[in-house]
């Protein structure tokens, strides 16, 4: 009996060892590029191009970070991105929250048509609308302005946000609003006082989704913004990386500076975000 049990244990131990080994090798593949950026960003200037694989370079310093902040408009780019992103997310979420409420709670002519329209907009390739938006922005004289880029961004995540929020409102029992109506609020008052506060998790997901989409956007920004003062950080980094030979360290430093907060927010909110995404994708 003991022999048998021991063999069984050994087999099990071996199985778990293999699982861990397999996962760890995948983890290394996933994390290594990030560590490499970190390592490049702290390399001293004269060793920027080495075929050394050590993650902690000899004579590490933060010169690249200092140069990045002093010699480029990096902070300005971050500011531009922040301003654009917060504004678009704010507009997007407020439009989505009311529209989703209408879809969740009311019966009206064209409801089904509206939902189908929302879904079918998802089928239009994003790359396809860049050209007409670019021409519209040009015609309105909004090239190289925040407004132009905000206009282009503001509705891009709208259908998805409406979909997520509708799904969430659907899970809130109607009796809560009915109670509020009995207590003397109007229908809008019930939405504002009962449904919105209860939907904070879903609103945060929608906001975060809008935020990350706009924050990481590159293609539209590239055609609308052309002076480096107006750049978002994506454009700025691309430019630094383009001049591979001279700016590699500064590119790495900039990458670290934008990645760390994004990563922190994503990992902190990943449970919500993932549940929202899977909800959206599964029900969609």
């Amino acid at each position: 009996m003991n022999k048998e049990a021991a063999a069984y244990r050994r087999k099990k131990f071996l199985k778990y060892l293999l699982i861990h080994a397999a996962i760890i090798s995948f983890v290394v593949i996933c994390v290594y590029p990030l560590l490499r950026i970190l390592s490049v960003s702290i390399r001293p200037g004269d060793k920027l191009f080495s075929t050394d694989l050590a993650l902690l370079p000899k004579g590490a310093d933060f010169a690249a970070y200092v140069r990045l902040l002093k010699e480029t408009l990096f902070l300005r780019w971050l500011w531009n991105s922040l301003l654009i992103t917060v504004t678009t997310s704010f507009i997007g979420v407020s439009l989505a929250s009311t529209a989703a409420y209408a879809f969740s709670r009311f019966k009206f002519g064209g409801k089904k048509g509206g939902l189908i329209l929302l879904l079918s907009t998802q089928m239009i390739p994003a790359g396809m609308l860049i050209l007409p938006l670019f021409l519209m922005i040009m015609k309105l004289g909004l090239m190289n302005t925040y407004l132009g880029i905000i206009i282009a961004y503001s509705v891009s995540s709208l259908p998805f946000s409406i979909w997520i929020l509708k799904g969430y409102y659907d899970t809130i029992p109607r009796s809560l609003e009915e109670a509020a109506l009995v207590d003397g609020t109007s229908q809008l008052g019930a939405f504002y006082r009962v449904i919105l506060p209860l939907s904070t998790p879903a609103l945060s997901i929608a906001f975060l989704f809008n935020f990350t989409t706009a924050w990481n956007e590159y293609l539209v920004a590239r055609v609308v913004l052309f002076s480096s003062k107006q750049y978002t950080w994506t454009l700025g980094l691309f430019e630094l990386q383009g001049q591979y030979i001279t700016q590699w360290g500064m590119f790495a430093a900039g990458s670290m500076l934008v990645t760390i907060p994004v990563l922190a927010v994503f990992l902190y909110s990943s449970k919500w975000l993932i549940s929202g995404l899977t909800l959206g994708s599964v029900k969609g």
Binding site: L53, F106, G109, P125, G127, A152, N216, G284
Partner: protein, 396 residues
């Protein structure tokens, strides 16, 4: 100072948006609330066109207020009876709640789409764009742009058909490896193991990183001389000469194998999403199915085939569909890797060629026609796919 000005600019814009929403709401509120009053028609037909034309003129948007007035009068002449005789004030609140979002979608999604169709029948390019901007004049050329899409190169060498084939190949390979990799990782993670949460957190990093950073960083790793991949290959070849004999060694990734490079990068980027979705699906399968299968005597592979895969399908299908559409439409990876001036076009797929045709080669109408063709392909494939998906659903 400049920073303050930028805030001012944005706040001003937000104010315009709010004012616009208020105007829209007021306009619709009037139609819903007063549709049965005796003064409904005269007030609507006189008030709105007049206010609209005066407003546009005052803001300098138009030069001929009378023409705008007549246009608005005509459309109001259609809208007002519609509200009086068909809508009759029903579902007021629902429509008022929906109006801002849908007008936004109409202006910034539907209108551009329609405009693109219009553009594809005209001839707008670098030499005619200033004329269009100033006078609004667009020459009509019929189907010429569509013919050009199929007969000339969207870029400088590659043909439409080569792009199409490459796109299908790119989509298939990427989605295949995303699903295979995601499935493997999800299965590994779905065991009762220590550090599970920690592993999961680290494994989603490629997805969580800003894509621009991730792609550019990976692009750096494929650099011929200083990239990690070639350094590793070089060291391997030096340490094990027989591998070098097999032809293993540093490779000029970016110039000789651009499509392979893009594919490897995109596979790396896309696995975490699939992993997370599939892991969620795996965790939602009730463990009693596995208990029952254990008692029934199913081996690991049999459990995989008879329980895991059939039960995970409802979760997988939408995710795979989404993944396919995303991969098909993925400009980011290819453009960020090959988009710099002098970049190769040997890695381009349809959508990235579209972007380059419009903004590197400045052939606007041409790329509009190109876009419509791509949309048509995607549309028919999705309709066909959804039909077969429905049929499969019905079978069960």
């Amino acid at each position: 100072m400049e920073i303050l000005y930028s805030v001012y600019e944005v706040l001003w814009f937000v104010f315009i948006v709010i004012a616009g929403i208020a105007l829209i709401e007021g306009y619709f509120y009037y139609h819903f609330q007063f549709y049965d009053r005796r003064w409904f028609f005269p007030a609507a037909l006189l008030g709105f066109p007049l206010a609209g034309a005066a407003g546009c003129f005052a803001m300098g948007l138009v030069t001929e207020p009378v023409r705008i007035f007549l246009w608005l009068l005509g459309s109001e002449g259609l809208i007002a009876p519609f509200f009086r005789h068909i809508v009759k004030g029903r579902s007021k609140l629902a429509y008022l709640l929906l109006a801002p979002a849908f007008i936004g979608l109409a202006l910034l999604l539907v209108y551009p789409f329609v405009f693109e169709v219009y553009l594809s029948f005209s001839d707008l390019k670098l030499t005619t764009i200033m004329q269009w901007k100033n006078t609004g004049y667009l020459p009509f050329v019929g189907l010429r742009q569509y013919i050009d899409v199929f007969t000339t190169s969207p870029l400088s060498e590659v043909t439409f058909w080569a792009l199409l084939g490459r796109t299908l190949w790119w989509t298939f390979i990427n989605v295949f490896f995303h699903v295979a990799g995601g499935f493997t990782l999800a299965l590994l993670l779905n065991n009762h193991i220590r550090f599970k949460g920690f592993y999961r957190t680290l494994l989603v990093i490629p997805w969580a990183m800003p894509q621009v950073v991730a792609v550019l960083a990976m692009r750096g790793e494929f650099h011929a001389q200083y990239g990690f991949i070639n350094i590793m290959l070089g060291k391997l070849a030096a340490a094990y000469p027989f591998l070098a004999g097999l032809g293993l060694g540093p490779v000029q990734w970016l110039s000789n194998y651009p499509l392979t490079t893009c594919t490897l990068i995109n596979i790396w980027l896309g696995i975490p999403f699939m992993m997370v979705v599939i892991l969620g699906g795996l965790q939602s399968i009730s463990s009693s199915y596995y208990d029952a299968a254990d008692i029934d005597g199913a081996s690991y592979l049999q459990k995989l085939r008879f329980i895991t895969i059939p039960l995970i399908r409802p979760v997988m299908m939408p995710a795979v569909t989404l993944g396919t559409v995303w991969t098909f439409n993925n400009i980011n990876v290819i453009y960020l890797v090959t988009g710099q001036s002098g970049g190769t076009e040997r890695a381009d797929i349809l959508v990235s060629a579209l972007y380059k045709a419009a903004f590197t080669y400045n052939r606007y109408s041409y790329s509009a026609a190109f876009a419509i063709v791509i949309f048509a392909i995607l549309f028919f494939v999705s309709v066909f796919y959804l039909k077969s998906f429905d049929a499969a659903k019905e079978e069960r």
